[in-house]
Each structure stands twice: as structure tokens, then as C-alpha cells.
């Protein structure tokens, strides 16, 4: 799209309406709603059936999904659609006829892949293969559920012996996909944190103890302020990561990703704490956001990412 008047926040508002519409529907119905609103093709070129927008639009859209607790592989759909743009499978994903999950650890060569979510409903699963990646027919591999972190939306392990490859990504294409994944998952986590912060702020303003709202207590106000600071830092870091510097050089995304995941975990855990006993219950959906962000954290081994940032810094100094 070439209309410079388009603003990412306007798109995020429209995306929010679609995501709200998809709420409570089946996986297939969600797919239809989100596809109809063009969300899978946000970062796919117009001539390839997408909206032709860049990642600066993807960030607020995915953040809204995190904020509204969309439990659907929106990021995976956007990533695979973008990586396979121009191919039939890519078009099918943009249109919502097909769906894809991504297993972030393991590889075809190792014979297994792990840290994938939404696999049971997906048509395809993307796994690493050599320096690149392979898109597999999900039905051709053996799938094992790991519900320990999230019984409703579990992580999956796939045994890949005999799995059928339907498309491949070069090393360069897979590296691009991983860059975008860190941006978009970082944004999803930032949105999830923001949603938790908003819930906590609302609860603190309405919950009265000793004749005053909890939000009158300095300890509560200061904790909430730190949550806001980290939310803003996450968004600012992600937007910076996708912008070139003054000399036109691209930036690394790892610090923004690791920051967003760490910040989001802190914010959601604090939001649970601030809700008291209610925060610990299944009834209040804060646990859903915590599970979702921790799944991303585990898939990318954020602690390992931080260590690798340190190693790279040491090597360069």
C-alpha cells in the first residue's frame, strides 16, 4: 500500500475489532474471521495477496492480539505467509484455507521438533532443516502433547521420521523469518503485558481497602508505574529494532526481543500478585497471558538469547 496517511494505530484498532469478533469461536471460525480481515497477509506484498505493510504495522496488530488474549497462531500464520509469499501455500495461508504452526527447537535432521503450539489444528508445521527450514504436512508426523505449562493450549513435540515436506525455506529466508518472529512475538508479549497491566490498574482503582482504593497506596502506585515504564520500553525497543540507523544500517532484534519477554513476564506476574488471591485463580484470565508468554520464552530460550547478546558484546568490544 502506498497511502502514507495510513497509521499503524488505525490498523491496530481494526485488527482489535476482528480479534474481538473471533473471540469464543472455533479454530476454523477464527481462521475465517482473521483471514477475512486480512490479518495473515499484513506483511505480505499486495501483488502476492497481502496488505503490503511493513513490520511497523505488524507490531501494534500483534500487540492487540496479545492484549486481547487471542489464543490462535496469528504470528505463525503471518510469518509463514510472508516467508512463502508468491507460492500457492503462502496464498492459501493468507486466504485462511490453510494454517501453519512453527516448532522452534529441534530439526528435521535430529528427527524431532519441539516448542510448537496450535499443532493439533494446523495443516502444516515449519521446522528447522539444515541452515534453512522445511514446511511439513502435519498429518505425516507423529505428534505428542505436552500440557504441563498450558493444558488448554499445550506445547507439542513432533517425531519427524517419514514426515512429508511440502515447501522449503533457504537459510536466508529462514533467518528473515526468525528476525520477524522475534519482533512479532516480542510485540505479542508486550501486548499481553499491557493487557495485564490495564486489568491490574482497573482492579486497583475499584478495589477498596481501609476506605480507599488500593491505587491510593504508594507501594501499589509505584509497582504500577514500573509496569508502565517497562511496557513503554518494550514497544520503543521493538520499534527501534526494525528501524535503520542514520547510516542506513539494520539493527539486531535480540535485545528488543529479550527485553520485551523479560518485561512482559515481570508485568504479568506483578498483575497476578496485585490481584491477590483472585490473581491465582483460573477464573481470572491473567494466567493465560503468563502461559502464552512463557511458551515464547521457552521456545526461544530467552535466557540463552541474553547470554548470546553478552557473548557478542564481549567479542566486539
Amino acid at each position: 500500500m502506498s497511502d502514507d496517511s495510513l497509521r499503524p494505530e488505525d490498523f491496530a484498532e481494526a485488527a482489535g475489532a476482528a480479534i474481538t469478533d473471533a473471540e469464543g469461536k472455533s479454530f476454523a471460525e477464527k481462521t475465517a474471521v482473521l483471514a477475512e480481515n486480512g490479518l495473515f497477509g499484513v506483511i505480505v506484498a499486495e501483488e502476492q495477496g497481502g496488505l503490503g505493510l511493513d513490520l511497523s504495522f505488524g507490531i501494534p496488530i500483534v500487540a492487540v492480539a496479545g492484549k486481547l488474549q487471542l489464543r490462535y497462531p496469528l504470528v505463525e500464520q503471518m510469518l509463514v505467509a510472508s516467508a512463502l509469499a508468491g507460492e500457492d501455500i503462502g496464498a492459501a495461508i493468507v486466504g485462511g484455507e490453510k494454517t501453519a504452526a512453527i516448532a522452534w527447537q529441534g530439526s528435521l535432521e535430529e528427527g524431532y521438533a519441539t516448542h510448537a503450539t496450535f499443532v493439533a489444528d494446523a495443516d502444516y508445521v515449519l521446522v528447522a532443516s539444515g541452515e534453512g527450514a522445511a514446511l511439513l504436512d502435519r498429518a505425516s508426523g507423529e505428534v505428542q502433547e505436552d500440557p504441563s505449562l498450558d493444558p488448554d493450549y499445550p506445547q507439542y513435540t513432533l517425531k519427524l521420521e517419514g514426515a512429508a515436506t511440502v515447501a522449503t525455506l533457504s537459510a536466508e529466508a529462514f533467518a528473515k523469518l526468525k528476525f520477524k518472529a522475534k519482533v512479532l512475538y516480542g510485540a505479542f508479549a508486550a501486548g499481553a503485558g499491557e493487557g495485564a497491566m490495564d486489568r491490574a490498574a482497573s482492579h486497583m482503582a475499584g478495589r477498596v481497602q481501609f476506605g480507599r482504593p488500593l491505587s491510593a497506596k504508594q507501594a501499589v502506585r509505584h509497582t504500577m508505574a514500573r509496569m508502565k515504564l517497562l511496557t513503554e520500553t518494550s514497544y520503543a525497543g521493538l520499534q527501534r529494532a526494525i528501524a535503520q540507523d542514520e547510516f542506513g544500517a539494520a539493527r539486531d532484534v535480540d535485545t528488543a526481543f529479550a527485553g520485551a519477554i523479560g518485561n512482559s513476564c515481570f508485568i504479568i506476574e506483578k498483575a497476578i500478585h496485585l490481584h491477590g488471591g483472585m490473581g491465582f485463580t483460573w477464573e481470572l484470565p491473567l494466567h493465560c497471558s503468563l502461559r502464552d508468554v512463557r511458551k515464547i520464552d521457552a521456545a526461544f530460550n530467552t535466557g540463552g538469547v541474553v547470554k548470546s547478546i553478552g557473548k557478542a558484546f564481549i567479542a566486539a568490544a
Binding site: P213, L229, E232, A256, G303
Partner: protein, 400 residues
């Protein structure tokens, strides 16, 4: 020391990188190694050396970028200011000795000063012809400035000032004090606050240095005993100066010393390079604990860069910065305090037989650790910033 100030200033319109490239080239070519804190040749520069360096930077187009040309500035935008600051941060150069003038007094004078005051003060601030100190805090009025008691009474066209200021950075060297007084009583709270540009050599001003945690005497108590200044020293009308100061302070909190994350990064490089320079210390860098801590600090530094670049984008787009400066202040001060603590933990393991670079780092980071204790206090303590964020950004109610 002589610097190359006969240098062409680029037109930022020619390319996005033009001004940053100019800043990079000039600073690297001109900053003496004796003024680089990461150099083994480093010697604490004198006030005159710092002044000459800052004046040269100004002549080279690297200070006063956003100030109007008629007052000695270069009439550029915050984007060029940020570009230059990135390069200032990337080198371990001395902290500005003229920052109170450039970042506080100057903008306030521009906002409320008379034309005569602007012509008199502003070009001299940029050219480092006079130093300023900030006379706001008092023994009973730190973060809570409405309790300030220093009184200004109008007498026959002059003002008679009595009171005491404290934590006044640079008072011993200052030519002028940006002085906040009140014309009424403490019961008036925010009403009747009045600002002055007071020459520090005025009869009745007494400066008593205070020794700080790092052993330096960088701030002082300043006593005003029957100090009489002409009405021409007044900055704005009663109330006007203070409301302008609040406006300026909120902008400054977001934009002043915006080189910080790039400087923190340079400091982190200095720390790592010092350890790499010594075979025994270099082994520590292979430890996953240190790698992870360094990665975490680098992550926070990048987050701070994001906050600052976002603030500049918003202001360049005409959006008011409002209370968002508190986000930046809180984040930089706590990020750097944590970094300084970690750096001290590392350098405390350096033995006297270590490399010259390591010994230099030990000295630098031990002082930095001590000085960093002030960072969550000055320019608005962390608790005040947290209150501002809770009140003005999150709008959290205090009552039903």
C-alpha cells in the same frame, strides 16, 4: 590545547546521516586521549580544559543545534541534536561543565526572558563565556519545591533576596545562579514564585562547598544574605518564570544529556576491553554469569535508546512530551546504577599487577559506582518519577 574549529557544518537536508557523520569525524579527530576516560593517558581535565573543549565543540556545530540563530544557535532540529548526542555518548569524554546553562537556564531564558536578557546571556552560554548553577533546592525544599523559603522583596526598583540553597552543583565556579525565590510566604505554595539570573559575585552571596560520596566538592550550599539585584535580573513575572520552568523541565527531563545510553554502551565497552587486555581477567569473560549480566545490561541500554529516540520522534512530530520524561529519567538512572554496581563487582577483582587498561578501569568504575548513588536522587528522585507516572500517565485515582 587547540582544536580545529574551522570546519564546514553540513546541511542536514543533504542526507539523514550528514550531521551524525560530521559529529563522528570531528569528535574522533579532536578529542585528546588525555581527556578520554578509557585511555591510559587520561588525566582529570581542568575547568579551563573542559571549557575550551566545549567551546570548540560549539564552534564545530556540535552544541546549540536547536537554539535560534539570532542567539548564537544553529537553528536545527532535535533530530540533529540526537545525532550529535549519539556520537558524544560513543566517546568517553568529560561531562559538560556548561550543562546547567545549556540545558536549563538557556531554555528558560528563551521562554520568559526579555530580548535584552536573551541577547546578553544566550550566546555567552553556548560560547562557554559564563557558567551557571541552579538554585532551586533548599534544606527543607528538595523534591517538594513549594516549601521553598528563599524570599525576594521588591525595594525601590531592586530586589532584596534572603535565604539558603543547597545541593547547588557547580556553585563554586558559576558566574550566574538561576535562582528560584518566592515573593510571598510558604503558605502561598506555588503562587508568587519568581526566578532570577543572579551574578554570583553579588555582595551577600556565600558559597560553602559540600564534599560528596566520591570525595569531590562538586556541589555546595549557597547563602543569600541581603543580596540586592536590579529588576533587570528578574526572569519573567512572579508565577510566569516558574510555570515556564515546569514546562522546560518536563522537556529537559526527556531530552537533556540524551547521549546517556550511548555513553553507557561506551562504558560497558571500556569495562569489557579492560578485562580482555589482561589474560587472567579475560578468563572471567568466558564465565556464563558475566556473559549473561553483560547481555542484560546491553539489553537495557538498547531499551533506553528506544525510549529516547521515541521521545525525539514524538516531539519532532509536534506531540507534547508531558510527563513522559519521567519514564526516561527513571529508566536511565536505575539502568546505570545497576550497571555501575555490576562494574564495581567486576573491577574489585582487579589486582595491582593487572594491565594498565584494567587498572584505569578499576579507578574509573570505583568512582562511577560511588557517584551513581546520586543518579536516583538528582533531577527528581525515583519515587517522585514513579508518582508522576502513576498520577499523570496511568491516571490512578488516590480517592474514591
Amino acid at each position: 590545547m587547540t582544536y580545529n574549529i574551522e570546519v564546514a557544518h553540513p546541511d542536514p537536508a543533504t542526507s539523514r546521516s550528514a550531521y551524525r557523520a560530521h559529529a563522528r569525524e570531528w569528535l574522533r579527530a579532536n578529542l585528546p586521549s588525555s581527556m578520554r576516560a578509557d585511555s591510559v593517558d587520561y588525566k582529570t581535565p581542568s575547568l579551563n580544559e573542559c571549557r575550551d573543549w566545549e567551546e570548540a565543540m560549539y564552534r564545530a556545530g556540535l552544541a546549540g543545534m536547536t537554539w535560534p540563530k539570532e542567539y548564537g544557535g544553529y537553528g536545527l532540529t532535535l533530530r540533529e541534536h540526537l545525532a550529535v548526542n549519539k556520537e558524544i555518548g560513543a566517546l568517553m569524554m568529560p561531562e559538560s561543565v556548561g550543562s546547567v546553562g545549556k540545558e536549563l537556564a538557556g531554555p528558560i531564558i528563551m521562554a520568559v526572558g526579555t530580548e535584552e536578557q536573551k541577547q546578553e546571556f544566550l550566546p555567552k552560554i553556548l560560547a562557554m563565556k559564563n557558567y551557571w548553577c541552579q538554585g532551586f533546592s533548599e534544606p527543607e525544599a528538595g523534591s517538594d519545591l513549594v516549601r521553598l523559603r528563599t524570599r525576594a522583596v521588591e525595594e525601590n526598583g531592586n530586589w532584596r533576596i534572603n535565604g539558603q540553597k543547597i545541593w547547588t552543583s557547580g556553585a563554586m565556579k558559576a558566574d550566574y545562579c538561576l535562582l528560584l525565590t518566592r515573593t510571598g510566604t510558604v503558605a502561598d505554595k506555588h503562587k508568587g514564585l519568581l526566578m532570577f539570573a543572579v551574578p554570583m559575585n553579588t555582595h551577600g552571596i556565600r558559597v560553602v562547598p559540600i564534599k560528596s560520596i566520591d570525595g569531590k566538592e562538586s556541589f555546595a550550599e549557597v547563602f543569600f544574605d541581603d543580596v540586592v539585584v536590579p529588576d533587570s535580573a528578574r526572569l519573567g513575572k512572579p508565577d510566569e518564570g516558574w510555570s515556564a520552568a515546569i514546562r522546560v523541565l518536563s522537556i529537559e527531563r526527556a531530552t537533556n544529556r540524551m547521549y546517556r545510553p550511548w555513553r553507557f554502551e561506551a562504558e560497558l565497552k571500556m569495562l569489557v576491553a579492560a578485562f580482555k587486555s589482561d589474560p587472567e581477567l579475560a578468563k572471567l569473560l568466558e564465565d556464563g554469569y558475566y556473559q549473561r549480566r553483560i547481555g542484560q545490561i546491553a539489553t537495557e541500554i538498547d531499551g533506553l535508546k528506544g525510549l529516547i529516540e521515541q521521545a525525539v520522534d514524538q516531539m519532532a512530530g509536534g506531540a507534547p512530551i508531558g510527563a513522559r520524561g519521567s519514564l526516561n529519567k527513571l529508566f536511565w538512572s536505575e539502568t546505570h546504577q545497576a550497571f555501575a554496581t555490576f562494574a564495581y563487582e567486576m573491577v574489585s577483582q582487579i589486582k595491582p599487577t593487572a594491565s594498565a587498561e584494567a587498572l584505569r578501569a578499576k579507578k574509573h568504575f570505583t568512582t562511577a559506582y560511588l557517584f551513581a548513588r546520586a543518579e536516583s536522587i538528582y533531577a527528581g528522585v525515583s519515587e517522585v518519577q514513579l508518582d508522576i507516572i502513576a498520577q499523570r500517565i496511568l491516571n490512578l485515582p488516590k480517592d474514591l
